[in-house]
Symmetry: C2
């Protein structure tokens, strides 16, 4: 009985987070009120507040879910024998396969984090985790000789994520944009950075290769 209860609570949380994602994406953080989210989730305010006491708590729940998913995706990418193949899978998943709602939600969270300290804290933590995960993947690839051993990994990850964020923003503001059409170019830019880092951003104590 207790297991069934825990499962039911977990399902309910998932339903609420799914409903909130749709509301935030469609209406923006401010106009997606707790009432609107209740209606979308088909539950009473009293019931919803038992699970999440605020919109910030809902965003934290969504962020936690995304973070767990990212960790699983990074682990899978790190296990692929062909490093650039694994990276291409990640890029396709994040840039092409995610739904317009997921893309819209990310845009909303980024925008809101500029003014809402609690959202900034949540977003900052996810960003830190994602960067650390990517740095880990790149470190493994550098050790295997698949990418340049001289690369400044932290900076490279910022550039790679910036390119991904920019593609996502284009999707978020232009529904007619098809990210599939630019995926080969995106991958080429990343591959080039990882295999031929610019002089002066490599480890300068070593000789250029």
């Amino acid at each position: 009985m207790r297991t069934a209860n825990v499962q039911r609570q977990s399902d309910r949380r998932t339903e609420i987070l799914d409903a909130a994602e749709r509301c935030f994406s469609r209406l923006g953080f401010h106009q997606a009120s707790m009432q609107v989210i209740c209606a979308e989730a088909g539950m009473s305010p009293g019931n919803l507040y038992r699970y999440f006491p605020s919109k910030e708590a809902i965003i934290a729940g969504i962020a936690e879910r995304n973070r767990a998913e990212a960790a699983a995706n990074f682990a899978a990418a790190g296990k692929v024998d062909d490093f650039f193949g694994g990276l291409a899978n990640l890029a396709r998943h994040y840039l092409v396969e995610r739904s317009p709602e997921e893309i819209g939600l990310c845009a909303e969270i980024m925008a809101e984090s500029r003014r809402n300290p609690e959202i900034a804290r949540i977003y900052g933590n996810v960003d830190k985790d994602v960067r650390a995960g990517l740095v880990g993947i790149l470190r493994g690839a550098a050790e295997c000789g698949e990418i340049s051993p001289d690369l400044d990994l932290e900076r490279a990850v910022i550039c790679i994520l910036a390119l991904g964020d920019g593609i996502e923003w284009r999707r978020a503001v232009d529904p007619s944009f098809d990210p599939e059409t630019v995926l080969p170019m995106v991958l080429k830019m990343v591959e080039c950075l990882l295999t031929h880092p610019p002089a002066g951003q490599a480890n300068e104590t070593e000789k250029p290769r």
Copy 2:
């Protein structure tokens, strides 16, 4: 007398747009009310409405100013003998030298354009102009043999702008981020795309070089 009047009106418009930029960047589009903008510009609502009847009109004014500035910057970059030097100047101007207020304002306009059709129309027009300007610069470089003649210019410009947007977003959400630290990597990614486009996104009727 008439010339002095026109000049005074133009100065007043500039002051209002500057004040509005600061308000939108600091408070966001929704919380930056016309009253707040009046206070920041040091003028009465009646006076401000004579120049701009709505926040959308102010955004249109800011966009028009940015568009004119971009056109001038692109023209200057197109005249530099060293194509990649001109491109590096553009990148430094847009990614490093712009103030936090300008960066914040761009973030706000992008976010707001997701839901406000009038802002989406203004933003879409600027985006179209900027893309056409960059395509023009790249076309000139391709004709001079400075970049690959096989590049799909429209798609390349989308990737270049996405990378720039992503760097700007990182500035917008993380005030401690110094874009100077990644500029060489950003330029390397762009140079690589322009000189070695991925197979399959080149003009496929020609042989690979």
